[in-house]
Symmetry: D2
């Protein structure tokens, strides 16, 4: 399990006084991005230098409790499916009172930049994702 902690910013909230629903996906992506950079898959090199990309094919979220500006949220990431060319990450967002505020998942596919065709996941990435299996 990978764990990432962050604070809800004013820019993430909307006029209803709570985190805008689309911004939950920004939160989970920030956690995912930090995980990936930590295992050598930083987005700068992936986007600007490598010949393949890990792109997002699907994303979903269930919103259970509102988050407000200043709230701390802890994001737990596990890998619920690990295939040859794709993988699924599950997210659980927990507040400081240990309430689950949201759950979600995203499906990621490894593709050639030239034609966007699926290619096998790099072995080193598979090995790291294996550690996030539940």
């Amino acid at each position: 399990m990978y764990t990432y902690r962050m604070i809800i910013r004013l820019q993430d909230t909307d006029a209803a006084g709570v985190l805008f629903f689309a911004n939950y996906f920004r939160l989970t992506h920030e956690a995912y991005e930090t995980f990936m950079a930590g295992i050598g898959f930083d987005f700068y090199h992936m986007i600007h230098e490598w010949d393949y990309l890990v792109l997002i094919a699907h994303a979903e979220c269930d919103f259970k409790r509102p988050l407000h500006v200043g709230d701390a949220v802890t994001i737990h990431i596990t890998c619920s499916k690990l295939g040859r060319t794709s993988f699924t990450l599950d997210y659980t967002l927990v507040d400081d009172d240990d309430n689950t505020v949201a759950t979600g998942n995203s499906i990621h596919a490894c593709v050639n930049k030239s034609d966007l065709n699926s290619i096998p996941l790099p072995e080193v990435l598979k090995a790291e994702l294996e550690k996030l299996r539940e």
Copy 2:
């Protein structure tokens, strides 16, 4: 079916040169927001004056083709489920060559502001959603 057309802006894209995945949810919400305002459920009054809210309980999206800055996208909204206290909207995002670039849905629940408990959908909203049934 409700239809809304928009242009992808530079601010919606990311360093990979395409629409950032979380921003698909901003697009569909803009379409939903415009639909709601058009039938008398504008967010200003809902948030600042009424004693109930229509909140988002779930959202998901399948990303099929990249969108780039300047691309036009047409969003078609239908209502695939209409319950007593909640409803589901389905989105299809289509480019100008008639390619489906993404599909998604969101589940909306009508709740009291005071306790966030579910309450029946207003009849006028149900009537308008009925028109979006496939």
Copy 3:
């Protein structure tokens, strides 16, 4: 003078119930982007195909009145300075009661992509900007 009209969206507001200050710059950029695309300088071609860019060297804004979700705002753009390699755009944001809600400006420089050095503005761009002189 170039004029662009838009509606404030929920995603643009924050928990204080008003447009988040940084999003004024997103509004004015959307107006600028639409102006540029209309005269043949669309960002897709500029970013992905041309060998030069028009980048933003400075931006500022005075916030005079709050904007709320659903508010319409009209953005007027004029060109207050037109140099050999750069130009300044002035923005006035007006609500439907003709109140000025914000004023601002941005300085744009034409640069080579290879070394980011200043180069002369294209003649066709200068001619179009000349039409926006006050």
Copy 4:
């Protein structure tokens, strides 16, 4: 001087491969927000419980070097003007090679929520801002 460090995220960049100009203001606001929360002026209480607000009357930024996804940036905040009802914060954004990537400032005014009229800054806030004087 107050110092805040952060990482540029994919969501902050645009199709030109660099930080989108309006997002510099999101960065500096995140630094400002964290400073304010640290001295007892957190936005949750300010927005939802107090009878006054500190709002932003002006913001500007000079963009000197591009920032890319994954770049670390350190934001230094000083207080260049401290008045009876308002104050000015200056920002310097520095990368890990000690290059200044941007400079900017924002003017903040203390106002009654009821009528948005200026009121004197709280003494405790003035005392903390005094420590940020150059």
